[in-house]
Symmetry: C2
Subunit: 253 residues, 2 copies
């Protein structure tokens, strides 16, 4: 047996279908028990945003969405779904890029992502779309408190979504909701073992945790949540909104 | 015991100081043995680029760098190290943004990052800077083959560095060198359990693996490598350069 540090990422399988109004804490605790897992002090719970959106009723029937001319024109031009584009535009505060069929927006939360995070997969075959939770940080706090209430444990919660990036291909998970931990680890002022003082290093640990979770949750695994065990997080009232770079300091908006 | 899926991230501690010319495969295998770990088929090895740069002699004494007037002017204006800026400019193919003391470049490899990845931390207290490996994909292949030769195991290798992002605060690890696995998991054309066909989902698993590794390697842990066990990667001759979005399709360059 090694005595080196280890982090474990434990899939919570068998969560089943989430309905609007479901108590997510209850559902997750049940699934964790059925999977013969157990939450412990020091664990982090990562939940894909879609189950949060489902539980919060943030799922829209596309049939009921009346697309604007603007949405229709863009959708037709690039063979996209005009109702999805309409929702994306409605959920956006500002359009960051609209080129070659790619629509990158700033959402009401300040998140910069494709189609305002509106997504049709893993719902019901294409007739509905999920919106991001109205306030994912608040959703994370609610789940964090509910777990605390039921288990008498302080389990940090991360709500994640997969976003595209500038400069790089493919999606990576990011933390869009956080409760119970500090999402950015600030190394500034600390010294390495050679005495050199770091002056710019801030690590986005919440996003790295979301990515680690993404490895086990996948896109088609029906595993929308996992437990991360063994990561030395900094407990506290951090928020995912802390990870959003203010527009005034952003060189790419 | 749960029978759910699990991924483990195992720190390789006690690697010690890397010297130019060191055989990294040898050094890592020794450290893995001393740590009572064992590489197994299915494991992935993630290595921070700095040990690769050290082994490859990509460390420059700052005293020997003669900064240009351009580097000096910029450095003075924002209280930066003119020698580091000079190296960053020399390592760049193109400047992507140069504003408010932030220098974001496209490196010779096509990577977009701050200061062309030139970094002074974890070296020798501030008198030297590490450049990125000349060809990190080639370095990864070399290590992958050397492990194969010594252990008769095909262990995928990821070489990682921490990069800043557009829109978000903090650094996350990214894969700058890859060997033995496909870095992008393409879900396009696959159907979710409701029959909906995914049409845009490509997951940057190599970057998510790098992030997972970042959680255990940290910035000041003297743990520049780890083993990721239990992730169902797609074996193959993928390259980290596959994850770089071509400039022609990039909306943020």
């Amino acid at each position: 047996m090694s005595n080196c540090a280890e982090i474990r990422i434990l899939a919570i399988e068998g969560i089943g279908e989430i309905q609007p109004g479901d108590c997510l804490a209850e559902t997750l605790i049940d699934a964790i028990e059925r999977a013969h897992l157990q939450l412990r002090e020091g664990d982090i719970l990562v939940v894909k945003h879609k189950v949060v959106s489902k539980a919060e009723g943030r799922v829209v029937s596309l049939q009921e969405v009346q697309p604007s001319d603007k949405a229709k024109e863009w959708a037709t031009r690039f063979q996209l779904d005009s109702q999805v584009i309409e929702l994306a535009l409605r959920q956006s505060k500002r359009i960051v890029r609209q080129q070659e069929g790619v629509l990158i927006t700033e959402t009401s939360h300040g998140l910069v992502c494709a189609n305002s995070g509106v997504d049709v997969s893993n719902l019901n075959g294409g007739s509905s779309a999920a919106l991001l939770p109205e306030n994912p940080d608040r959703s994370a706090v609610k789940l964090h408190l509910a777990l605390n209430h039921r288990l008498q444990l302080s389990i940090p919660v991360i709500i994640s979504d997969s976003f595209g990036r500038a400069w790089r291909e493919g999606l990576c998970e990011v933390a869009i909701g956080v409760a119970g931990l500090i999402p950015l680890r600030d190394y500034r002022g600390k010294r390495d073992r050679y005495g050199y003082q770091l002056h710019a290093t801030v690590e986005a640990v919440a996003d790295e945790l979301a990515c680690a979770a993404g490895l086990i949750c996948g896109k088609l695994n029906n595993t929308p949540a996992c437990i991360i065990r063994g990561f030395g997080f900094e407990p506290g009232n951090g928020r995912a909104s802390d990870v959003i770079r203010p527009a005034s300091r952003d060189l790419f908006r």
